[in-house]
Symmetry: C2
Subunit: 417 residues, 2 copies
Amino acid sequence: MSSEIKRLQTGEPENLTERFASRAAHMKASEIRSLFAVASRPDIVSLAGGMPNLSALPMEMMASVVQKLILENGQEALQYGSGQGHPKLREQICDVMALEGIRAHPDDVIVTTGSQQALDLISRIFIDPGDVVLVEAPSYVGALGTFSQYEAQVVHVAMDQDGLIPDALRQAITSTRAAGRHIKFLYLIPNYQNPAGVLLPADRRTEILEICRSAEIFVIEDNPYGLLGFDRPAPNAMRAEDSENVIYLGSFSKTIAPGFRVGWALVPPALKEKLVIASESSILCPSNFSQLSISSYLSDQPWRDQIASFCELYRTRRDAMLEAMEQHFPKEASWTNPEGGFYVWVTLPPEIDTKAMVPAAIVAKVAYVPGTAFYADGFGSWSMRLSYCYPSPERIRDGIKSLGGVIKKEMERRSIG
Amino acid sequence: MSSEIKRLQTGEPENLTERFASRAAHMKASEIRSLFAVASRPDIVSLAGGMPNLSALPMEMMASVVQKLILENGQEALQYGSGQGHPKLREQICDVMALEGIRAHPDDVIVTTGSQQALDLISRIFIDPGDVVLVEAPSYVGALGTFSQYEAQVVHVAMDQDGLIPDALRQAITSTRAAGRHIKFLYLIPNYQNPAGVLLPADRRTEILEICRSAEIFVIEDNPYGLLGFDRPAPNAMRAEDSENVIYLGSFSKTIAPGFRVGWALVPPALKEKLVIASESSILCPSNFSQLSISSYLSDQPWRDQIASFCELYRTRRDAMLEAMEQHFPKEASWTNPEGGFYVWVTLPPEIDTKAMVPAAIVAKVAYVPGTAFYADGFGSWSMRLSYCYPSPERIRDGIKSLGGVIKKEMERRSIG
């Protein structure tokens, strides 16, 4: 019997599951995976994905950067590199972080295959099954997936329009510890949060740092969008204020391009060796080809101007989305007002089930991510994430108009409003 | 106090270890890491590393391949991609594997950040703490490190000049199971093994496959060197004979260049989804930039001829090393006779401690890897791995001459021979 036929007949062999590690039970396809397959159809306006818009990136310039790199330094660029990452790029990463007030030493930077790998390595170092990880409510779906694979118990901490609420954090720490659970770290995205689109103000940053320091809880500051503020810069990074209790994650995916898969972690010195060893075990070393392409770009090109172009591109799209929402969404809906980044978080009347509403949206040629994807605990059923990063302003207006219609119809059907 | 000063004073904070996951205790620097730092000094002939020799790779051609890719397909090459890997590259990978007799479907291929990541993901799916992994004696140091981080118990199975010994495998399975331990898989490198340099003959492949199939033990066939046979092609891959019980790992690191970090796993269909989900949690997606660079190269360039150039380059170096060993090594030493790949495995009289002998070798301006690095159980103290892949034939001859002198001196000191 050919394996092709057998595959159709059997699916997963019956005895296979018992041959897996126990953590494999947590390796389940995210509920938004099938959604993305549909949302990528060209006739659908996708407000679902988080792909950066590369139309502002001059491809002739990028082509010449990589060509020159291989011609001048191909023997190094195509060879194995250091497990920690290339020394020159680690220096340049410190320059990038200086824009957000961080003073760091290249020795404490570990280059990773996107910041997702940093999340994975940190989970590997800290999480025993049953340990608690504190996260914002809602939080980044990719982080929730990783924490779940390491069999962490995720405890969500409430946010408002200004991000994580310090008092809610205090209460979460107290009640979790009262239940005898070990808290390993707080994971948060202070700038233009994914999915909520909110910004944590400077005073809350200080307060949260104090809470975590005195509770001996590491802070994982995930900051892919920090340089994408539209009207004014974001406050200094939390790491700028605390170099000993903050693990900072950065990425070039949104400020240059995600196809290189270059991110990094800046860690307290005591954590560095473990992180490098974990990374070597995971991928041996990050790609010199990608790292040195980024490094050449940072050396030779006006990268700050390029980030400004990205900001302008995203600001225009945010404006288009918010204006269209004002016009087409029902008065019972509320949403966040992002000052940067990619996302708007929409809250509908609690009777609406945004996951159940997806098929109607697809029929109306628009896609979004239902709110439950961003919670580990099933919450979020009457909210949704909308991304304005990728489509054109015109497509965004069309998509929001269609979505407004779908929401209103659903409210009528449920006799709301 | 600045963190710089504090670092010098405290090293690892006392209470930090108890905040780690239990697996972090297994994250220790490999004993060969510090050796590599010394071995990379230009005055040392390094027979220690496993870096492929890229002098045969035409850099102008590579530069034009990546330039053209960005110019013609930059929007895709620099964007996020699929978690499983790019569909076109997965098709081309099937063409590459066909050279070793494998008939595979691109749906069953998962592209990874080097085959090290595939090892990590497979370990993640299968290994609970205390599970047994069977490996050759000796085996690849990077695999041993990963198995250890997943808290596997590694059981070595004896090899001879023809690779893994089937009867030793039978005995290992019987005795491990008699002790009540769970065996999760057999990991082996059938072609030009790292570190032993030996080739597993076709009849042993068949016998080992039968043993593992009937014992319900997956076979992890790691094959980075398979196309690097010097005098004749290697036998068909084990996966060619068994598509349901073999997980095959491939890599472009030795046939094109390691700086791209592109490897792959070909897995039985029932394992695919778990592997993709584990990879998404680990790195989100492999680099489109790297994958499409490899894909363009495979489409447009004479890659089979390039592999033939690599084979010629390595054959010349192997010949230089073996000739010099005949001339300069003591008669009490024995070594393997590699028909391909990068490595020779040397066995000295058991009184010699190759790890203790490293400083003397460094003084004599030559470096090697002591045998114990390739065992999880402390064995191998009178053996060493020599790599002929990277230095020039002249440097190899010089290095072997020096090393022969060091060995003879050490034998004299211990009154051997």
